[in-house]
Subunit: 178 residues, 2 copies
């Protein structure tokens, strides 16, 4: 932060405000304090006839690797709405959320990732601006060496474990390093 | 946002960027796009000898009403670390997280609230800058008419339900209006 977005001064200080214990960008001219906090990424493990919907990324980061549909939660939406929106934006498909499934803290990149189990409502899906290819994978077809993000890989592995057990439960785990 | 925090211009546009579908503050001078996303609030329902730790708020919003310790998740921490930190900052006590318990989307205020079940590790707790009073409540002592936030009330009610059932499970729910 080089300029105050409220008053325009370049006289910005990076310091611990009164009654706080973390350094923030502070404007001594207009007394605004600028907080930055972790972002939430929401996504879905969508099923259709027991197959898993995945998308090949057409944009960076991790272009050309496969992911579950996921992206930054936006203001004015719920976690589930975000997961459904991201699924549509990345795969063109309509999903219905069944349950909250995995949640990861990623403190090294200031993110929380949250995946839902969902059902695809029909067979309409395909490439989008964000995805060069979209397809359903049987479990033994998953391209484990071409998965874009560790939280996607872990969510898929939990799902396969739970499928064997016949019981799906919410899981919450920290990931501190890629 | 009145000025670009990167280049200082007041020539800021609020518009939908290319390949996006939501209006963002955009700087046409230096091409920076400013994203704002929901914040995560983390907290804990801390138990000591079956009693629940609550704090009377000494600051606004909801000054003088009772809450479970909770506050904004910070960068570089996990959800659990945030819950433990907030518990310490608001009550002076040390907590150990047992399980993720409740998660709420609050789209009208761009927040996600996440509460953990936790145990207090000792009997050290008391007033802090943020709390004028800190005490352990038996369930039948809870001051239902003086609770600061709906997500605190709902978390307490879920806990009491689950206590009767003898089984605690993760719950995830939208709250669209206060």
């Amino acid at each position: 932060m080089k300029y105050c977005s409220n008053c325009g001064t370049s006289n910005i200080e990076f310091k611990i405000p009164e009654h706080d214990n973390i350094k923030r960008y502070c404007c001594p001219e207009c007394d605004t304090i600028f907080y930055t906090n972790p972002n939430v990424v929401v996504g879905a493990l969508c099923l259709r006839d027991s197959k898993i919907l995945m998308a090949k990324r057409n944009i960076n980061p991790r272009k050309d690797l496969w992911t579950l549909p996921a992206g930054f939660m936006e203001n004015a939406e719920t976690l589930q709405e975000g997961a459904i929106r991201e699924t549509f934006e990345e795969t063109g498909s309509k999903a219905e959320v069944k349950m909250a499934y995995t949640m990861f803290s990623l403190p090294h990149i200031n993110q929380v990732h949250m995946f839902f189990l969902a059902d695809l409502l029909d067979d309409n899906y395909g490439p989008t601006f964000e995805s060069s290819e979209v397809r359903l994978f049987e479990i033994d077809e998953i391209l484990w060496d071409e998965i874009a993000f560790p939280t996607v890989e872990k969510t898929l592995k939990y799902y396969i474990e739970d499928l064997k057990e016949g019981s799906f439960s919410f899981r919450e785990k920290d990931i501190k390093l890629w």
